[in-house]
């Protein structure tokens, strides 16, 4: 009991302790704010990738696609763990806006908007057809015209406008040119007419929140894309299948089941003419499929964690120095306590409790300040932008809305435990030194 009383009194009476508390609070504040924002950005980024890909992707990176996809779609749709499947065409094309002399290389993605919205979050990324995705590629003024959906970054580059007026949607024609390929990868049309070109009219814009996707992809109706790419022959081909599992299932387990089904499907199709096109097909979870995009962000988060590990080490040294100073001033007290029978372990416990209190108070203040700051981080950024034109993240580059400020209790718990552990670690050496002090030396007249 005396340890708690003495530790509390030392805490309240020694002003130098306030510096230790302040140092811990500042470190906790910085770590809470940065880790919360960083974790929020990473989680948001992952969620956007998940939404873009669905739960599982069966596909090939080959531009010729793979055959017999319709049979596999039927097989997959019969599975009780599958919610929806959407076949897609992926290829590269030249895009030219009418009136422009410039051709841009774009990635085309042929989809059925209804099926794709069931299997992925595509419908939610649309600007005009969010509520009714069936009309995504329809041009209201002329039912015979084919529509296309542009990523919003692409639209921004084309029109210098982020959003176009819904009431007067302009008719913007784009000619899309593709090189159709055979199942073996050769040009499907020899001679001068080897390029398939068709005009599509702007019908909507998509904002996935993934800048590379929104800056490079143009969505086309599935059948049109299949024709353009030469995949619409007697044996139709597709590039990939996006699959969404039922909500109660685990994604990895679902992917494993799809892998088994795919292996069996391949064996069943082994004797077919275009069975070779199945060789390059892989079954991946959304994380594996988007690994190239997610990995750098996760690495960045790891680097940040390591950097803030160094902040923690700094805290250890600050506490060590402060406790070293405190204990060197308290050597007389240590002698007195030992003269009345206090053991070395109790001396260590006394200063450890003192350090624990510094850790609790420091992390408490740091958490509170961090939490309040995170609550107000968006209004603060808005105010800075309004008055000084300053933004933490340029929204034309980073596809984020508000700065993520959702505090994760797991992260908070880790930070608090780390801060307290840092305080205890910092106090350990001075405490051991205090415990080793001999009372006869500390109580000598010369020591006073």
């Amino acid at each position: 009991m005396y340890k708690i009383i003495l530790a509390t009194r030392y805490l309240l009476k020694r002003r130098i302790t306030y510096f230790a508390v302040l140092a811990v609070a500042l470190c906790v504040f910085i770590v809470v704010v940065v880790m919360t924002v960083m974790a929020g950005l990473v989680n948001e980024f992952k969620e956007k990738n998940h939404s873009f890909a669905g739960d599982c992707v069966v596909g090939t990176e080959s531009l010729v696609g793979f055959a017999y996809y319709e049979d596999f779609v039927k097989l997959i749709e019969q599975q009780d763990f599958v919610e929806a499947v959407s076949p897609a065409i992926k290829s590269f094309a030249l895009k030219r806006r009418r009136g422009s002399e410039q051709d841009d290389v774009v990635e085309i993605m042929g989809i059925d908007p209804v099926r794709h919205s069931q299997a992925t979050g595509f419908g939610d990324t649309l600007y005009y057809h969010k509520d009714d995705v069936s009309g995504t590629f329809e041009i209201a003024s002329d039912a015979n015209l084919a529509g296309c959906v542009l990523g919003d970054f692409m639209l921004l580059q084309d029109t210098n406008s982020r959003y176009l007026s819904e009431t007067s949607l302009p008719r913007i024609p784009y000619s899309i040119s593709c090189f159709p390929l055979t199942a073996r990868g050769a040009l499907a049309q020899a001679g001068t007419d080897m390029v398939n070109t068709k005009t599509f009219y702007f019908s909507d814009q998509s904002s996935t929140g993934l800048p590379r996707v929104d800056g490079s992809i143009i969505y086309l109706p599935f059948e049109e894309a299949q024709l353009l790419c030469g995949m619409a022959g007697s044996t139709k081909r597709a590039s990939r299948l996006h699959i969404r599992f039922k909500p109660d299932g685990k994604i990895e387990a679902g992917c494993e089941k799809v892998r088994s089904l795919w292996q069996k499907f391949r064996q069943d199709k082994a004797g077919e003419i275009q069975a070779y096109s199945l060789d390059t097909v892989t079954v991946q979870s959304w994380k594996q499929y988007r690994r190239a995009s997610i990995a750098p962000m996760e690495n960045e988060q790891t680097e940040m964690s390591v950097m803030f590990g160094f902040v923690g080490i700094t805290t250890v040294f600050i506490v060590l120095v402060v406790f070293y100073m405190i204990i060197s001033h308290k050597s007389k007290d240590i002698g007195i306590l030992k003269s009345i029978g206090v053991s070395n372990i109790n001396i260590i416990e006394l200063f450890s409790e003192y350090a624990f209190m510094v850790g609790i108070l420091g992390s408490g203040f740091g958490l509170l300040a961090g939490w309040v700051f995170l609550l107000k981080i968006n209004p603060i950024e808005d105010w800075l932008f309004e008055h000084f034109g300053f933004q933490l993240w340029d929204r034309t580059i980073y596809a984020i809305g508000d700065i993520p400020n959702q505090v994760e209790f797991k992260i908070l718990a880790i930070i608090v435990v780390s801060a307290i552990a840092a305080c205890l670690a910092g106090a350990l050496i001075p405490s051991l030194q205090a415990a080793r002090q001999k009372p006869v030396e500390t109580l000598q007249v010369g020591q006073l």
Binding site: M1, K13, K332, L337, S339, I340, S343, V440, L443, V445
Partner: protein, 238 residues
């Protein structure tokens, strides 16, 4: 006198310190017996080793060689925990510079020894009793009105009386006082000696170290320490 009457015996105590390349021999074979209920003054010049002897008798320090027995038990055979209990229960120290904890009140300083060997739960079970004992001691010392004060708000004499109260808190068999009046004026010092005499009359065994012969005369027996050895023993007539 029966051999059993001795509460404390020191036999052939030697103590030396290493100072640079040389050994400084402070005690050179001290023999000393203290009977129960005695008031012994150890007198000697500054640097004669009297405080060192007192610290060894109270197990705050260890002799280089020699034996100290307390109630027939050899202190050198005590384990660390037993030594802590010995310092907590069997002896009470009074120092020249009082050595009170500034962060604690007068009352807390006095009942501190009663807290040190107790867990939170056992302390809550006996805290009322301990506080009452501390208040009683402070009342005996004439400090009933000062229990909530901090040590720095007291005079030197008052602080020393608080230190005596703390030393007596656990009703120790032996009270060891190291120059208890050394930092006080003569009138205040006499007051402290009155307290010690009163305690001795009530049966408390006291060993006091002083360099002042007049103060030593207040004890029942005087032992002179010179050049690390007991030189002269004298029974004072009180």
């Amino acid at each position: 006198m029966s051999k059993d009457d001795f509460i404390l015996k020191a036999e052939g105590l030697h103590k030396s310190y290493r100072m640079g390349a040389t050994d400084v021999r402070v005690l050179k074979g001290v023999n000393l017996n203290i009977k129960k209920g005695e008031f012994v003054a150890i007198i000697g010049a500054s640097g004669s080793g009297k405080s060192t002897l007192l610290h060894i008798l109270g197990a705050l320090d260890k002799p280089t060689s020699g034996v100290v027995t307390f109630e027939k038990r050899d202190l050198s055979r005590f384990r660390a925990g037993e030594l802590n209990r010995f310092r907590n229960r069997m002896v009470g120290f009074v120092f020249q510079f009082y050595h009170l904890l500034d962060e604690l009140s007068v009352l807390e300083n006095v009942f501190l020894p009663a807290m040190t060997d107790k867990s939170i739960i056992s302390w809550f079970a006996c805290r009322r009793q301990a506080k009452n004992r501390a208040k009683e001691l402070l009342a005996q010392m004439g400090l009933a009105e000062r229990i909530k004060h901090k040590p720095y708000q007291l005079s030197g004499g008052e602080r020393q009386r608080v230190a005596i109260g703390r030393a007596l808190m656990n009703e120790p068999r032996l009270l060891l006082a190291d120059e208890p009046t050394g930092n006080l004026d003569s009138a205040t010092g006499n007051g402290i000696l009155d307290v010690l005499e009163k305690l001795n009359r009530a049966g408390q065994t006291i060993v006091m170290v002083t360099h002042d012969e007049r103060i030593a005369q207040r004890a029942g027996r005087t032992v002179t320490l010179a050049d690390g050895k007991i030189e002269h023993k004298n029974s004072n007539n009180l």
